[in-house]
Symmetry: C2
Subunit: 226 residues, 2 copies
DNA sequence: TGTTGATCTTGAACGTGTTCAAAATAATCT
DNA sequence: AGATTATTTTGAACACGTTCAAGATCAACA
C-alpha cells in the first residue's frame, strides 16, 4: 500500500486537488471555522469520507495550502535575495513577498496563526510546520549573513530565528488587523523595520554592552535544545 | 427574568459552583480539550443541559475560573504594590503573584492563552477578557508611575500596556514551557527583567533619540482607537 | 479474458459541544 | 390553600469532525 500523497497517479492526484480547491473555496466563502467537511465534499463532488482519504483532517487542508504556498514563495524569496543589497532590502524581500502572496487568503491564514500551542499541528511552532519554519529561518539567516551585519558573537547565531519571530509577529498582527486596508500593519511594518535597522546600527556603542551579555545568556539557555 | 449569575439565590449559587468545581477537576484530570461536558455534568451530579443553564459554553467555565482568579489576585497585587519600592520590585510583585497563583493550574491556562484571535472569547485580547485586562494594565501603569521612571512623553503613555504585553508573553512562554520545573521561563523572566530595567536606565542617552521618536509614532498609530 | 490484489469511494455511525421543548420544582400572589 | 408565575432540571436531538467496514473500480498478470 503506497501513501496516496506519494503516488504519481493521475486520476487520484486530480481528485485530491479538486478537494483542496473546493476546500479553499468554501473556506473563502464561509471562513475556516464555519466551513464544513460535508460542504467541501459536496463542492468537490465526492462523499464526505473521500476528503479524509486524501487529507487527514480539516486542519490538514489548511496545511496543504500552507505547504503549497511555501513551495511557491520560497524560490521567489531566494531569487529576490540575490538582488537585494542592504539588510533592509533583504528583509523587505522576504516579508513583502509573504504579505503579497498571502493577501488574497489573509483570513484563512488565521487558521494557521491562531494557535500558540506548539503541540497543535497548525501552530507556527509545531513539528508539522517545522520544515517550512526552518526554510524561512534559513532565508532570514542568509539575509543577515550576506548583508554583513556585525553583532556580538553571543547573539549573532540567533539572528535568523529572531528575525523570523519578528516577521511572525507582523503576520499575526496583520491577520487580525481590522483597520482599512490593514494600514496599521503597514505602519507597524515600516516603523519597526526602521527601528530594527537603527538598533543594529547603534548596537555597538559601549554602554549597551551589558545588554548584549544578558541577551546572549538568555538566548543560549532558551534555545539550548529546542 | 433575572440572569442566574446576578441572582443572590442560595441553592442555585451552590449548584453553579458545584458545576464549576467539577469542571476544574475534570480539566485537571483530562486536560481542557479531552474533558467532556457530559463527564463534567455527571461529576457535578446534574444533567448535561444543566451545565449550560449556568454557563454559556465550555469556554465559559474557563472564563469563570479566570474571573475568580483575578478577583483573588488583584487585591493581593495591589497590596504588594504598596510595599514595593523600585520598578523591578513592583513588576516582580505583579508577575510573581500571577505565576504563583496560576502554578497549580498552569496547563488549564493554555485554554486562555492558546487563542490569538481577538474575537475569540478566551483570547487575552477579546472584549470578554477586557475587564480583567484593563485591571491588570492599571496595575502596571501604577507600578510604572509610582516608581518614577522617566520616559519621553511620546512613549510614556503606553508603558502600562507595553508592560502588560511583556507579562503576557512571559505567561504564554510559561504555559508551554516543557523544561523541568519550567526553568527556562524562570530564566526568561530574570534576564528579560534585567534587560528591561537596564534599557530604561540607558534610554535617555542622545543617540537613542531617533528610536524614541519612531516608537512614539508607532504606538500612537497602533493604539489610536483600540 | 478471468482472477486477484491494490486503490478509491461510499455513507452510516460515533463522540463531541450545544440547543431546546418539556417537565419538575420553587416562589409569589390572591 | 390554590393558582399562577419564575426558576431549575432533564435528556433527546442537532450539526459537526472524524472513523470505518463494506463495496466499487482499477491494474496487473495468467
Amino acid at each position: 500500500m503506497v501513501l496516496p500523497e506519494v503516488k504519481a497517479g493521475k486520476k487520484s492526484e486530480e481528485t485530491r486537488s479538486r478537494i483542496l480547491e473546493a476546500a479553499l473555496a468554501v473556506f473563502k466563502e464561509r471562513g475556516f471555522e464555519k466551513a464544513t467537511m460535508r460542504e467541501i465534499a459536496v463542492q468537490a463532488g465526492v462523499a464526505t469520507g473521500a476528503a479524509y482519504y486524501y487529507f487527514d483532517s480539516k486542519d490538514a487542508l489548511v496545511m496543504a495550502f500552507y505547504e503549497r504556498s511555501q513551495a511557491q514563495m520560497h524560490p521567489a524569496i531566494e531569487a529576490k535575495l540575490d538582488h537585494a543589497r542592504t539588510l533592509e532590502e533583504r528583509l523587505r524581500s522576504i516579508i513583502s513577498t509573504k504579505f503579497e502572496y498571502f493577501a488574497p487568503n489573509r483570513k484563512l491564514l488565521a487558521a494557521l496563526s491562531s494557535h500558540t500551542d506548539p503541540d497543535h499541528p497548525l501552530s507556527p511552532f509545531s513539528t508539522e510546520t517545522a520544515a517550512i519554519r526552518l526554510q524561512d529561518i534559513d532565508s532570514f539567516e542568509r539575509a543577515a549573513k550576506e548583508s554583513g551585519v556585525k553583532l556580538p558573537p553571543s547573539v549573532a547565531p540567533y539572528l535568523g530565528r529572531l528575525l523570523w519571530m519578528y516577521q511572525m509577529g507582523l503576520i499575526l498582527f496583520w491577520v487580525y488587523d481590522k483597520s482599512d486596508s490593514q494600514r496599521k500593519t503597514l505602519l507597524l511594518y515600516e516603523k519597526t523595520l526602521k527601528m530594527l535597522i537603527l538598533t543594529l546600527k547603534v548596537a555597538a556603542i559601549p554602554i549597551l554592552r551589558p545588554l548584549h551579555r544578558i541577551a546572549g545568556e538568555l538566548l543560549a539557555a532558551v534555545y539550548e535544545d529546542g
